[in-house]
């Protein structure tokens, strides 16, 4: 069911050439459960590769990380975007047990690291998953639009 839903929602993106051009999205991987795309920052021209992992979609929201466009290794936190609205954290993700980690993360509803962060456990994904704009395409849109407003 998770794979079927993933493929349906990813298919809507892949078949929509206007969407890909208007948003500046270059899809690199679209094989369940991975959806990776390169996005050009409109102001700086910098390109970042976003990797979403949609395992157990949509019982769970996707995990998010950034990849190096050449090596496809995960980008260190210092290479993550920043902004004044606290979406991006270059380190310090904390699981439910409060353990301190150096893991970078995006703090936004719809991203698994947000809903499993010690500070947001009470804000369940169940509150969002049926809302408009929290389907696969909606989450990817939200993340990339926040990226466009960042200081990458």
């Amino acid at each position: 069911m998770s794979k079927q839903l993933f493929e349906e929602e990813v298919g809507k993106i892949l078949r929509n050439a206007d969407l890909l051009v208007e948003r500046g999205w270059l899809v690199l991987v679209a094989i369940y459960p991975e959806f990776a795309l390169a996005v050009k920052h409109r102001k700086t021209g910098r390109i970042r590769v976003f990797r979403f992992i949609f395992d157990d979609w949509n019982d769970l929201p996707p995990k998010l990380s950034f990849l190096d466009g050449e090596t496809l290794l995960e980008l260190p936190g210092a290479m993550w975007p920043t902004n004044a609205l606290s979406h991006w954290h270059q380190s310090g993700w904390q699981p439910a047990n409060g353990a301190s980690t150096g893991q970078p993360f995006m703090c936004m509803a719809g991203i698994r690291e947000y809903h499993t962060h010690q500070s947001h456990i009470s804000d369940s994904w169940e509150n969002y998953k049926k809302q408009s704009g929290f389907d696969l395409g909606g989450i990817v849109s939200r993340v990339t639009e926040v990226f466009q407003k960042s200081d990458v």
Binding site: R23, S132, R142, V146
Partner: protein, 97 residues
Amino acid sequence: MSEHDQHEHKIEVKIVTTAGNFPETGFKEFSRQEKLETVLKEAAEHLKLHNTENWIARLGDRQLNPALSLEANQIPDKSKISWAPSEPGGGELCTRK
């Protein structure tokens, strides 16, 4: 008003979303005086989108104002308008110690 004059007051646009486009192919003609919010509402109905009050319409880098007409938004003919959910702010609690 002649057919030519009527055409001069029309504009063709397409609304582009991750759920699909309105219209699905080509463009749809609207009066230049039509408010953008009317066009977006029609797109939402067609694409079965709900709770789109906080979505943002954009033409390239420029954010559009749904309360204004297509003309006042300076939308050229045959524009593809990107429409997507907005994200107001991040989580301050993430950094609380």
